[in-house]
Amino acid sequence: MNLSVNIGGLGLKNPIVTASGTFGYGVEYAEFLDLNQIGAITVKGLSPHPAAGNPPGRIWETPCGMLNAIGLQNIGIDAFINDKLPDLRKYDTKIIANFFGDTIEEYVEAAAALSAADGIHALEMNISCPNKQAGWIAFGTDPALTEKVVAAARKATKLPLIVKLSPNVTSIADMAKAAVDGGADALSVINTITGMAIDIETRRPRLSNIVGGLSGPAIRPVAVRMVYQAAKAVKVPIIGMGGIMTGGDAIEFILAGASAVAVGTANFVNPAASVEVLQGIKEYMTRNRIDDINSLVGGVIC
């Protein structure tokens, strides 16, 4: 059974990736599962300088989902490279560094700094966090600006560049095209959907940031649709994500057009979710006599 996939130059032994922000810096999960078993680990979003993130009131559970407004808290690229990467290098899995900046210059700075480090196999560019200010959000919602910031980062790295798209847009196809025009080797689809919850007793938003990002099974139908639409719009491979809990969910994304899948919120529900999703994929393939996972990609019959 062939499970290996190629994501814009990044070869993975299997299509299971962990979603950024839901798997820490990876090493924290070593006690719950064998990290060597998963295709790639995407680490928490990194910025050139450490970021404190939003004040408390950062998560809230909603029907079959959760809102988060962590605000991209992270230890910064230098600390990641010095303190976390040496440990990560010990595992036989690919490391995808998710990154962001507050300006185009910072995106370039981040891409360059991460590319210089040893043991990072690909970059995932986050232009789609719903917890940032209106100006920033345009990176992920205005196609012209998307193309511009992606092109700038593209020049700063030779690593496979994956651009992570926001679902909070009218046309995911247009955004996908803009990212590819900017030079993306692959796309991650989708980041969280902007949502809000209010405590009716205190009348305050549940999140200090007022709005946050919705993730989990609740958003899966939206994510599958966007993967389908993005895959029809561009030729680069797609990492599909949004509410994947089981192998069957992963197959749904692959049939819709994803070449790999990322497990996100499910890691909180079960720290070993990623390997269980992989197991489920294998069982499905065995049951349906499928030799090569790549033969399923985009296989939905419409």
């Binding site: 993130g53 950062r58 529900v269």
Partner: protein
């Protein structure tokens, strides 16, 4: 028990590490994806050494049915399976022999600190509740050797009013004969902690914080609190914090 609180016993199917009082476990209410996330709970008691009946020991929880997840836990029947992660976080620090420990609980906070009365036999317990019906079995207070002080909002049991007043009186009484270190280990609503800050108690106060949690292991960064040392995550840096380190908003 039908006072809003219920007891839950969990028999792990693998050996667990011996937990420290103040640590907690994440429990998944049911197999469903709604509620989605595991819920954090302290334990009131545990059996760790394997025996015939409990080859991997036993965990005992005391839970208030306040919402979706806790109500599902309440309805579980013997034999139902649960996902459990733990013990997690940092518990209450050890108490030295020359220190005087006082334990304070507000409402369901009793679940997190009751274990202290077993570890520190004869320790004084201060317990504040709304009304008599809420009180778990007084059998539970046996390790205090009668040294417990109850206050209720409606006066239906113990003194009417705030348990913190009882505590304050007790401390000033104690101070007449004792000048050493007094430690207070508390669990209750955040309002109780804020009141304790205002009272400026002549003691070192450690409290267990409650926030919504997703991962319980420090990776989601969802359970952050502001402290004088910057943002900390309750699940890993806590849930027990020195009260003076916490920055309260509003």
């Amino acid at each position: 028990m039908d006072n809003g609180y219920f007891a839950l016993q969990v028999t792990p199917n693998v050996a667990i590490c011996e937990p420290v009082i103040g640590q907690f476990f994440m429990l998944k209410p049911g197999e469903a994806i709604d509620p989605l996330l595991l819920r954090p709970f302290s334990f009131v008691d545990f059996i760790i050494s394997p025996n015939d009946k409990y080859p991997n020991g036993l965990l005992m929880f005391l839970i208030g049915a306040v919402g979706k997840g806790t109500n599902i836990l309440k309805r579980l029947a013997v034999g139902n399976r649960l996902s459990v992660i733990g013990p997690l976080g940092r518990g209450f620090p050890a108490v030295e022999d020359d220190e005087n420990l006082l334990v304070v609980a507000g409402g369901i906070g009793i679940a997190s600190v009751l274990g202290l009365t077993k570890v520190y036999h004869g320790v004084s317990l201060f317990y504040g509740i709304r009304t008599k019906e809420q009180i778990p079995d007084t059998e539970w207070f046996k390790y205090t050797e009668g040294n417990y002080h109850i206050a209720s909002d409606d006066g239906s049991i113990g003194e009417k009013g705030s348990v913190l007043e009882l505590l304050e009186r007790y401390i000033s009484q104690l101070r007449k004969s004792y000048s050493g270190k007094i430690k207070i280990y508390a669990c209750g609503p955040h309002g109780m902690y804020k009141a304790m800050v205002r009272m400026n108690l002549d003691a070192e106060v450690h409290v267990s914080l409650e926030t919504p949690m997703a991962c319980g292991i420090g990776t989601c960064l969802g359970c952050a609190v502001e402290t004088v040392n910057g943002l900390k995550v309750v699940c890993k840096d806590g849930p027990v914090f020195n009260l003076k380190d916490i920055i309260w908003d509003g």
